[in-house]
Symmetry: C2
Subunit: 440 residues, 2 copies
């Protein structure tokens, strides 16, 4: 597990980030060698892409990049120039900012459908021991400044990370974190973002802990979709709830009841696959079947648990469903006031592990952007031509070859109590003569 | 597109392979610099893993490996020692051989369930201008020698590549390649493998072009599963048929009619997701729902088309379905007698591109093996403890959180002609006042 140093204040990546030399891709620590075990970096590099591009000769990196990150219309997805304004804000605010462009072929019957998407990843700002309201307001202030930078970059659709207003306290199993829950339609975070959305003409996806007063004050893990006029377009509740090891979010909220809505905004059709839903290929697929062109995956996940899965699942979804995916993970190690155990035989501890950031955008043509920092707040900006979605649908034909009717029948059978899996036994296993296998 | 030199004989990787210095991970060409454009290698490296492990300092490679290849019970999936016998056979036969082990936690209520799996990737042996029977027999001879090596390695379950008895002539749209089709139960290739399966006590999965005499002599893309006693356990027909660009395999055969069978063998429950089916997450899932512990994905796919997808789809399937995947791709550039076009505006040509090999094993814990060579025949041997499948099911809980009933209902609705996608419009798009979005 990647841990930050013992001093609780130094365990905030925001502060550690000050030690990172942001002008270089390798971020050496002062007075001691950079280490993957201390600052959440990869031996001093903020991301895999930066490590590889710095350490490999250019001709080899080009090939490695082609295999690992794919090509968008024949070229690697490379950074596009940022305004001085944006770079200055990133330097001043000590966050990683990266800007990319995904293009599509020009068509004869319709114009390009360009949209600028933004992803924000961030650490909590204050220690979890501070008063809750103070903690929330500090995060809101930080995220507001990041949203202002997104506006500078011309972002049309922005998505924040899962449960962005709070520390990810669900690992503690303490109910007091429920206090961070808000009304999706009228909560403080929604009101804040409505103002920003209107001011910056920006669609904002806001994943929060929701309290639904209309239905017994129940708690949900919800993404609120706010239109670029400041209106609440709607909301979606997390469909699949993790019980991973002893980490059981159903201590707090249950499986969502909002289906697989696609939100038709001025800038494109979007959907939100919240966190653990990324492990469920059908969840991704259902958003695609409802017409999504961009699916955001706001997440909160730690290194030891899921890091090797992270570059795979969102990209697989983008490929299989011919849409863009914006994958977002929070960053930093959150230390909680009281110790808790994790059902793994290890001693009680006060943190869940290092949230490894690494947010990125994946495209339907199997290309993807490099990731944001593994150890600092970040803003990823990607200019997309949404025409790429239909072009890839037409090229690969995954929809027309998907045989949904066959799977509809199969799933209907599967959920019956007397379902018999389609298994063909080797007849030798039953001691029968060869050549006459039977099906159960 | 990675092309081999102009001389048609030099375009066989088998022959080019003789120039590769197999004792070193970097395979320099004689008298000229190695190049990704000539021999199908990555600038002289046979695989991405070899490139990275050679070019990066060990402490950085360790971190890169952790992110890219995952960990199996805390460690990278590393090569295990090979017998001298096997190494000698690989050197003599000029093929890449790699051996790995995936372990599981020890359980108290059942013993480890160890099985040794083998994957074979190979180029065609003779030019496609040779008489068909001669071509087929030359491949059969080569593959027999590779199977003998697999037996030396102690392989229990072996899978060959898609349509292994023939060049992948479907890109030409010429019907004469149908001559390679055989009876699944009684064809020459099946008879050959039945003998080898019995001799070596090995389950063999044999993906061939099938001609079904009982049903109007129709052609299918079929995997025959041969038991370790030499019996034919059963067969599976490719479920999803590609129409990618103008590459349309339904010129030859249609969508399979065998469902998603799992074959219960002496060594474990296996299934076969043939080639293009790897782009369909539900196809992977249905094999898992029927109980597969290992799913093979025998393929034939080329660099420009799919290489960035290759490390993603099989691994995503292994993760999402808590089973092992053996992904196999043929290798080499196959030059056909007559030129053909590819519906892409480019001039007529005689080859489909470079089949990039790169076969590998992916595990349910998100770890995976390094890949076989990108430019030579190869045998990958992986010792698996199948207990890992259930351990990962219990850890991540993807099955119990999968909500199949919800998707069964959704798919049933989707296939109706009057299906209305679940779309929530921003009311501003209709010129309506804000705050009252509507659902269609």
């Amino acid at each position: 597990m990647h841990r930050l140093p013992r001093d609780p204040f130094l365990r905030s990546p925001l502060r550690l980030g000050n030690l990172l030399r942001t002008g270089r891709s390798r971020c050496d620590m002062e007075n001691e060698p950079a280490s993957a075990t201390k600052d959440g970096s990869l031996h001093g590099y903020e991301s895999l892409h930066r490590l590889l591009s710095s350490e490999l000769p250019p001709h080899l990196f080009q090939e490695v990049s082609r295999v690992l990150y794919g090509c968008n219309r024949g070229s690697a997805v490379t950074p596009v120039p940022q305004t001085e304004d944006l770079s200055a804000a990133a330097k001043e605010g000590n966050f990683d900012v990266q800007t990319f462009e995904f293009t599509a072929d020009l068509e004869q019957m319709r114009a390009p459908r360009n949209v600028c998407v933004g992803l924000i990843q961030n650490a909590i700002v204050l220690p979890t021991t501070e008063p809750f309201l103070k903690q929330k307001h500090a995060i809101m202030e930080r995220v507001t400044s990041l949203i202002e930078s997104a506006a500078k970059a011309g972002v049309n659709i922005l998505c924040l990370q899962e449960a962005w207003t709070m520390p990810f306290g669900f690992c503690t199993r303490e109910k007091r974190w429920c206090e961070f829950a808000e009304s999706a339609e009228a909560g403080e975070s929604t009101k804040l973002l409505q103002g920003l959305a209107q001011r910056y003409n920006m669609v904002i996806v806001s994943p929060i802990l929701e309290r639904d007063e209309s239905h017994g004050s129940t708690i949900w893990n919800t993404a609120v979709v706010i239109g670029n006029h400041g209106n609440v377009i709607g909301k979606h509740r997390k469909n699949h709830i993790p019980r991973v090891g002893d980490f059981n979010e159903s201590t707090y909220y249950m499986e969502g009841n909002t289906g697989h809505p696609v939100f038709e905004t001025e800038f494109g059709k979007i959907a939100v696959n919240i966190c653990y839903g990324r492990h469920h290929p059908m969840n991704w697929q259902a958003f695609g079947m409802n017409g999504a062109e961009i699916v955001f995956n706001p997440s909160a996940t730690v290194g030891d648990l899921s890091e090797p899965m992270w570059p795979i699942e969102a990209r697989n979804a983008a490929i299989a469903n011919s849409y863009f995916v914006g994958a977002i993970n929070r960053v930093g190690t959150e230390v909680f006031p009281n110790e808790f155990t994790s059902g793994d035989g290890k001693p009680a501890h006060k943190d869940f592990g290092h949230f490894y950031g690494s947010s990125f955008v994946a495209a339907p043509d199997a290309s993807c952007s490099p990731s944001l920092s593994r150890c600092r707040d970040g803003l990823l900006v990607a200019k997309l031509d949404l025409n790429l979605c239909q072009q890839l649908k037409d090229k690969w034909g995954f929809r027309m070859t998907s045989r949904i009717d066959m799977y509809a029948d199969f799933f209907r059978e599967y959920v019956q109590h007397d379902f018999k899996p389609q298994v063909i036994h080797d007849s030798y296993l039953d001691g029968l003569p060869a050549m006459n296998s039977r099906t159960t």
